[in-house]
């Protein structure tokens, strides 16, 4: 069975933020919440790299381990999804996540947190597939339509890869071999406990 993963080829990412915009538009994400962000390392210095980051849908997800109400569940293809019905907005998952993926809307003018929101890998949530309720809570469900996450599908430089982990790892390996260099699969060691080695 396929294990769905994200892979950002940092040698191709040009920090255009199209993935961020596409995600916000596709899921009608409210102001102040970014399910995906582009992080630039060594900005303005030699070796500058930009990496598009969102929830990596970790193996043994730390967010799920610390959740006091167990609102997370992993699907058979490795996605880490959560139920907004159960989430109490405590914020523990935000502290546990190594990628800063969980986001919280401001619920009141006094700064209290609302239900956690994060990347769903465009797979919706526990509500019925392609229902209005699912769209309002979790955004669109592209996987149910037989598509991949929009951020990856519309990446103009094809830096962001999504899909079956083995296939995208193979695509990345071919790229590294062909061009002769690569800066590694960012976040894979942390998220999946493995890395891509090119021999």
């Amino acid at each position: 069975m396929a294990r769905l993963k994200f892979l950002c080829d940092a040698n191709r990412c040009i920090d255009c933020n199209a993935c961020v915009t596409a995600c916000k538009n596709e899921h009608d994400v409210p102001w102040g919440i970014n399910r995906r962000r582009v992080v630039t390392i060594n900005d303005g210095k030699p070796g500058e790299r930009s990496v598009s980051m969102a929830c990596m849908h970790c193996t043994n997800a730390p967010c799920a381990a610390v959740c006091p109400v167990d609102c997370f569940h992993a699907t058979d293809d490795g996605l880490v999804l959560h139920s907004k019905e159960i989430c109490i907005g405590c914020g523990y998952c935000f502290y546990a996540c190594p990628f800063g993926a969980p986001q919280f809307p401001q619920a009141t003018n006094f700064g209290s947190r609302g239900k956690m929101d994060k990347c769903t890998y465009c797979a919706g949530g526990p509500d019925a597939d392609l229902s209005e309720a699912e769209y309002v809570r979790y955004g669109s469900n592209r996987l149910a339509e037989g598509k991949l996450p929009l951020c990856a599908e519309m990446c103009s430089t094809k830096a962001l890869l999504a899909g079956d982990g083995e296939i995208i790892a193979q695509i990345y390996k071919e790229r590294v071999v062909t061009r002769g260099y690569g800066s590694g699969a960012w976040g894979w060691k942390t998220a999946y406990g493995e890395t891509i080695t090119v021999t």
Partner: protein, 71 residues
């Protein structure tokens, strides 16, 4: 005066004794009737695999690989 006071204090004691017994019984009932906390069980429908290798997905793999550029 003191008999009146005794009568009043006895009545008050009986009242508080009855109140205490009632509270203990209510607390015991609540403990006996309480259920264990249930963990969230997502069920097979929510944990099912969502990924399908459709034409759209295959096109994504094809256009992202260098194989496409060679052809």
């Amino acid at each position: 005066m003191s008999e009146q006071q005794d009568g009043r204090s006895l009545g008050r004691r009986r009242f508080f004794r009855a109140l205490g017994t009632g509270s203990v019984a209510a607390a015991a009932g609540a403990v006996m009737g309480a259920k264990d906390a249930q963990a969230y069980d997502p069920g097979p429908e929510e944990t099912k695999a969502r990924y399908r290798e459709t034409d759209d997905v295959r096109a994504f793999y094809r256009t992202n690989g260098y194989e496409t550029l060679r052809k």
